[in-house]
Symmetry: C2
Subunit: 494 residues, 2 copies
C-alpha cells in the first residue's frame, strides 16, 4: 500500500524543518578517524538519541569498547540500537546507517565551511560534510518517524535501528556487536529484512583518493537504481627476495638473479589486457549466468559513453554494454596496483632492487570465496615461479579478503523498494550489482541471514568523501518520501 | 726501466710528510654537490695549485662557467690544467683526477670527524672523506713529483694534469673544456696516453646508495687489477597512459584497460630470469668473443664465492666463473629498476593507476651504441604493445645514454702499468673490464683518441662515497711507488 497522503503532505510542508535538522547534524564534526574529534562523535550519538527518543524510539547505546588511535586509547563511539513498534502482526525491518563522517578542512578546497550546512538556493544544493554520507539518509528515517509522531499515525512496520559511529574507520566493533546481539530475545531477534540507505560514488569524475568504496546510487544521473549485489575482494602481496641489499646494476647487472625480472614475469601471467583472469580455477568458481540475469543487464539504462566521459577516453574493454556492465558487476576482475620496494620516484636510478612486492587484488563474485581463490592463486604462482628457475625466493601473502554478496531481487523486500521508487520517482529503478564491497552489508547478511536491500537517497555526483560534499534538497525531500513509501509497501509486500 | 732506487727510498722516508699532505687535503671539505661548500671547493683548487707549483708544475685554472645549484647561481670550480716537462724525445702522459668529494656528516654514521684525517695506527687506516676518492690518488702523483724535485731528478716522461672539481656532481663543463683544448697548440695537444687512478667499489658489502658508480680496483681483495673496459648504458622510461585519473578497482575493475596490466606484460618481455635479453637485435651488436679474450677471463683470480659473500646468498645466474665474469664485464645486461606512478607504499590500496612508467636500463658493450639500441628497443616494445590490443597509449623515452669503452690491453700504456704492478706488488695484475660506466673515461677516449689505462690505488673495501671512507696507509705508500714506477716503465715501453 502507498503511504498515506497525509505523510506526503507533511513532508512537503516541513521541508524547512528537515533542512534545519540536517544543519544541526552537519554542525557536529563527527570525524571518526581523528582522535581530536572523538568527543564530537559522541555528541553526534547523543543528538541522534534525543531526536529518536523525541519521535518515540526506545534507544540504547551499545558500548563497543576501546581503540588506540594516534597513540591514544579512546572509547569507541557507541552503536545506537533503537526500537519502535513491537506488533507481532507486522514485519520488522532493520535500518542501518552511520553517524560518523570523513575528515574535512576548508583548506582542502571547500568553498564553504564544511561543518556548516550551506543552502545554495540557486542550485538547490545542501552543501556540508555528511550531508549525503550518511547524515541526510539517517535523518530521512527520523523525518518519517516525526511525520507519524506529529500526525499520530501508526507505523506500518516495526523498526529497529542500528546506527554506528565508526563506519568511516573500519566499523570497529560492529561485527562483534551483531554476533553478540543475535539469537532469541537479543536485539537483532525477529528481524525480517534490512535496508541500508547508501550513496554511490561510481562513474563520478572524482580523484581516486576520495572514493574508498563504492556505494549504491543511480548508475547514471537519469535512472534511480537499487543494488542487490556487491563483489568481494582478495588482496595479495607477492614478495620476491634476492640479495641482502639493493645492488648497483653496473656492478651486478648480468650476474645475479634480479627479483624485478621474476616479479614482472609473474605479474604478467595474471590477467590479459582485456581483463581475462589467467589463474586456473578462478573463473570456474563463478556462478553461471542465467537467462533472467542476462536480461536484467540488457534493460539497464546505461551507455558506454557514460563511463567514457568519466574515464576521459575510449578505454573500456568492450563496446558492448552488457559485457562492460557484467564485467563490472557479476564477473571477477583482477587489478595490479603496484610494486613496493622497487624504484618508484622520478629520475633514473640504476638500482637492482633486492626485495620487491607486487600487489594485486581480485574482485570476487558468487560462488568465489577468498579461501578458495587463495588456494588457486598460491598454487599457480608457485608453479609459474618454479618454471623461472630463479634462485630468488617467493612468498605470497593474502593481505585481506571479503566475500561477495548478492541478494535475491525477487524478494518482497525488493518488490517493496521497486514499488516505492516507481511511486515517488515515476520510474522503474535499475536493478544493479556493484563492483566494490561494503563490509557492513556482509556483516548483516552473514550474521542475520535476512534479505538486505540497498536504497539510494543521494546522487552519483554528491562528492561523498570529497570536498564540497552535497545533497540536493530534492533528493533529501523526495528521498524522505521514498523511505516512507518503502515502509508502507513493505507492510503489504509478499 | 724501473724507477731509481733513490725515488723508492725517498717515498719510504717521507711517508709521514705524505700523510700530512693528505691530512691537509682532507681538512678542506670540497663537497661539489652542496652550494654551502662551494668556497671550500675553490680552496681545494688553490691548495693543489700551490702544491703543484711547489714541485715545478706550470698551472692554469680553466674557468668552466656557472651553474645553478639549490636555487643559487654559482661559479663552477676550475679545472686545474698543469704541465711539467716539454721534451720532444719523451712521451707525454695525461693524468686525470678530481679534487671534489661526496658529502659527509658525522651524523651519517662516521666514527670520527669526516673532514679530519684520522690515522688508525692499529689497522693502518687513514680515515676521512676523500682519502681514497680521489685525494689520495691525486696526491700520489704530487708525492712522486716532490721526490723528483727534492732529489733534483729529471722526470722520465712529460706530464699533463687535468684535475676537476665537479666529478662527484656530473663533471659539469668538462666535456666542453676537453673539446675546446684539443688540437694543435692547445693544452691537450701532443698527449700520447692517459692514466686515471680510480678506486673501485664492486663486490663490496655496502648498501646501494653509496655506490653510484663502479670504479676500478682489485676484483677480490687478493690480486691487483687494471681495468681496460667499461660498459655503457641506455636508460629507458616506458609510459603507459590510460584514464585521465587514477581509478578505484571496485568501480572500474573489469571494464577498463588497465595500464599496469599492459606495462607488466611489456616488462616481462625484456629479459629472462637468467639474464638473456629478449629484444631482437640487441645481442647481435655484441662484438664476438675472441679466443684470447676468453682466456683472459679464465686466468682472473676470482671465485663465485667472492660475489656470493657480498650478495648474501647463492644468487648468481651461473656457477661457471667465466660466464659470471663475462656477463658482468663483456656482455650487455638488462635491469628493471621500478615503476613510477603505481602504488608503491606499504599497505593495500585498491587503485587502478592511470599513468605508469616502467624504468629499465641496458648496460652496453662494444659494438653496441645507445643510438642503435634505442632503435631496437622502441621498435620491439611498440610491436609487443600492438599485440596487446590495448586502448591505452604507449610512449617510450630514452632518459640517458653513454657508450661503452674498451681499450687495447696490448698497448704499451698497459704493458707499463702491468710491469709497474709486478714490480711494486710482486703480482701480475688481473686485466678486467668493469660493469659500470665512468663518464670521464669516455670523454677523454672520444675527444683525444689516446689509450687510457685505469690504475687502482685503494682497495675494494675503502668505502668511497660511504661513511668512514678510508685509504690504507700501505696502499697510499705502495700506490705512490706504483705511480712512480709506472712513469718510468712508460718511458721505455713499446
Ligand atoms: Zn557512508
Ligand atoms: Zn563514507
Ligand atoms: Zn672519484
Ligand atoms: Zn667518487
Amino acid at each position: 500500500m502507498p503511504a498515506p497522503n497525509a505523510i506526503i503532505d507533511y513532508i512537503n510542508k516541513n521541508s524547512g524543518k528537515f533542512v534545519q535538522r540536517l544543519a544541526k547534524a552537519v554542525s557536529i564534526p563527527s570525524v571518526s578517524g581523528d582522535a581530536a574529534y572523538r568527543e564530537a562523535v559522541f555528541d553526534m550519538a547523543k543528538f541522534l538519541r534525543d531526536e529518536l527518543e523525541a519521535v518515540g524510539v526506545t534507544v540504547r547505546f551499545a558500548d563497543l569498547g576501546k581503540q588506540v588511535l594516534d597513540g591514544k586509547e579512546l572509547n569507541l563511539p557507541p552503536a545506537i540500537l533503537g526500537s519502535i513498534g513491537n506488533d507481532k502482526n507486522k514485519k520488522t525491518v532493520l535500518l542501518y546507517g552511520h553517524y560518523d563522517v570523513q575528515p574535512a578542512l576548508k583548506s582542502d578546497g571547500w568553498y564553504t565551511e564544511p561543518f556548516t550546512l550551506t543552502v545554495d538556493n540557486e542550485s538547490g544544493r545542501l552543501v556540508g560534510r555528511g550531508s549525503t554520507d550518511d547524515k541526510g539518509p539517517v535523518l530521512g528515517w527520523i523525518n518519517i518517524l516525526q511525520a507519524h509522531h506529529d500526525l499520530k499515525l501508526e507505523l506500518p512496520v516495526n523498526i529497529k535501528f542500528c546506527l554506528e559511529g565508526m563506519e568511516e574507520s573500519g566499523s570497529e566493533g560492529l561485527d562483534e556487536l551483531v554476533v553478540a546481539e543475535r539469537g532469541s530475545n537479543k536485539f537483532f531477534d525477529g528481524i525480517d529484512c534490512a535496508c541500508i540507505v547508501w550513496r554511490r560514488a561510481s562513474f563520478r569524475s572524482t580523484p581516486y583518493l576520495t572514493i574508498p568504496q563504492s556505494d549504491n546510487y543511480w548508475l547514471n544521473t537519469r535512472t534511480p537504481c537499487i543494488t542487490y549485489g556487491l563483489r568481494g575482494i582478495v588482496y595479495f602481496k607477492v614478495n620476491v627476495r634476492g640479495a641482502g641489499q639493493d645492488l648497483h646494476s653496473g656492478v651486478f647487472g648480468g650476474l645475479v638473479h634480479e627479483p624485478m625480472t621474476d616479479l614482472v614475469i609473474l605479474l604478467s601471467k595474471l590477467v590479459t589486457p582485456l581483463g581475462k583472469i589467467l589463474i586456473p580455477g578462478v573463473n570456474d568458481l563463478v556462478a553461471p549466468l542465467t537467462k533472467d540475469e542476462r536480461e536484467r543487464y540488457e534493460t539497464l539504462d546505461y551507455s558506454i559513453s557514460d563511463v567514457e566521459g568519466v574515464l576521459g577516453g575510449k578505454l573500456t574493454v568492450s563496446s558492448d554494454k552488457e559485457t562492460v556492465l557484467m564485467n563490472r558487476m557479476r564477473y571477477p576482475s583482477l587489478s595490479i596496483h603496484g610494486i613496493e620496494g622497487a624504484f618508484s620516484a622520478p629520475g633514473a636510478k640504476t638500482v637492482i632492487p633486492a626485495n620487491v612486492s607486487g600487489k594485486f587484488s581480485i574482485r570476487l563474485v558468487p560462488d568465489q570465496t577468498p579461501d578458495a581463490i587463495e588456494v588457486c592463486v598460491k598454487e599457480y604462482l608457485m608453479q609459474e615461479f618454479a618454471k623461472l628457475e630463479s634462485k630468488n625466493t617467493l612468498e605470497i601473502e593474502l593481505i585481506h579478503g571479503g566475500k561477495p554478496w548478492v541478494a535475491s531481487p525477487d524478494h518482497w523486500n525488493y518488490r517493496a523498494a521497486i514499488k516505492a521508487t516507481e511511486i515517488v520517482y515515476g520510474q522503474t529503478p535499475d536493478l544493479t550489482r556493484e563492483g566494490g564491497s561494503i563490509p557492513v552489508v556482509l556483516t548483516f547478511a552473514e550474521a542475520l541471514g535476512v534479505n538486505i536491500c540497498l536504497l539510494p537517497m543521494g546522487r552519483a555526483d554528491d562528492g561523498a568523501h570529497s570536498t564540497n560534499e552535497k545533497l540536493d534538497l530534492s533528493n533529501y525531500i523526495e528521498g524522505t518520501k521514498l523511505l516512507g513509501t518503502y515502509l508502507y509497501e513493505l507492510a503489504t509486500a509478499q
